[in-house]
């Protein structure tokens, strides 16, 4: 009887607990395949929660809001929460990264105060270097031409 109860508990728990991931970077792309230069199907932002459905070599397969499935790199996410079937979120481990998602610590507000007292510092180029965008297609051409990554002798 006890063994049966344990079995039922295990079976049900695997159905009820869907693993979710939380985006911890400012923004990232959910891609059509587990490659950085793969087509983007969704833009995700810090704090977004997505259901994880699979895993492959450092990439997580996730469900995006419209129901499609795509890939996000593990370095862009936190994986420390579980969702119950009731829709309730359970914090399994409160890591400092979760604080960042709540917007605490050194943040825009602190930067603004620092800049106010350092009028000699010019952030124009910091913003410009961040804004420079190189598309997936450009990167793919660059890798192919240079025989890099999967187009060459690399791993």
């Amino acid at each position: 009887m006890r063994r049966a109860l344990v079995f039922v508990l295990l079976a049900v728990s695997s159905l009820l607990l869907a693993e979710t991931i939380t985006i911890k970077v400012k923004e990232t792309r959910v891609r059509s395949s587990p490659r950085f230069y793969a087509r983007s199907i969704h833009q995700a932002e810090a704090g977004d929660r997505l259901e994880k459905v699979g895993e492959f070599e450092g990439w997580y397969e996730v469900k995006i809001p419209d129901g499609q499935v795509g890939w996000v790199h593990s370095s862009a996410v936190e994986t420390k929460e579980l969702r119950l079937s009731s829709g309730e979120w359970v914090e399994t481990e409160a890591s400092p990264d979760e604080v960042a998602l709540a917007g605490k610590g050194f943040n825009e507000e602190v930067e603004a105060e620092y800049r106010r007292t350092h009028a000699d510092l010019d952030y124009t180029w910091v913003d410009r270097m961040e804004a420079m965008e190189i598309t997936e297609a450009e990167m793919l051409d660059f890798l192919k031409e240079g025989r890099l990554g999967e187009y060459g002798g690399g791993e």
Binding site: L5, V8, L9, V12, S13, L16, K24, V25, K26, T28, F36, A46, H73, S75, A76, L82, L84, E88, V90, E91, T92, E93, A94, S95, P96, D97, E98, V99, A100, A102, K104, G105, F106, N107, E109, V110, E111, E113, Y114, D120, L121, D122, Y123, W125, V126, M129, E130, M132, I134, M139, L143, E145, G146, R147, L148, G149, Y151, G153, G154, E155
Partner: protein, 296 residues
Amino acid sequence: MRRWTVFLLALSLLSCETAEKIAKQKLGDVVGEEKAESIVTVVEAVRKGFQDLTPREEYYIGRAVAANILKKYPVYEDEGVTRYVNKVGMTVAWASDVPETYGGYHFLVLDEKEPLAYSAPGGFIFISKGIINMMEDEEELAGVLGHEVAHINKRHGLGAIKQSRLTEAFSVLVKEGKKYSSEEVKKLANAYEGALGDVVNKLIEKGYDRSQESEADRFGALYAYRAGYNPLGLVSFLSASKREYGDRLEIPLMKTHPDPGQRFQALREHLQEEGLEGTTESVRTSRFASIKKSMR
């Protein structure tokens, strides 16, 4: 009937008890039996060292360090060269241990004839026109950028922050949903200024420790190798630095990256031991040559 009772019991156990148990157990590890007002407050209270800085905080420190570097050196404004350096840099960063940082990796060329290479926390990387001019091919560029990416992956810059600044910053307790008071912002800005002063001083004046340099060499060459480059690119660059500058510490690159002779030998031996070999594709060497030629 009895079976259903067991099933329902199991369900209720899971939805209530398991959830509570997991949360309490994990939180309990941090705060003991005490009940915390909010998880955020608890986490804030247990933050201690630079390892506990969040990716977001690292990003804001990096932005300010980048602004300080750019106060010292002008930017080399050439879209073609900048895009090329970004492509090589992204290729290597994607093959690193942390391909995505809070704000991503960004590369900029400085209009400076002395050879320079700096990485600010979070992913801001700067190299000078002078260092590109010293290089022979794309493999060397990938090796140098890999070395800088490795400093960021290993959070070497943040390690320079004095503990007192962090203690001060972490003491500003925050509650969920509440904005900082102006006094709290000032206190944090003060700690922030001190923290990034420590990082700038380390990057530009003192340079990293030898052990951090050799770690960045090993991982930088590994990232270049994983990306498909010949990992000997970094070895050959270090060897050229040794030939060109020896141990002339008045050269900024030598001050912040000392002893290239010892480093290139150590790295060459390391790559041999690990069996990391690659080839230098001529198509990459020629595209590097045309970029270099285009530089004013």
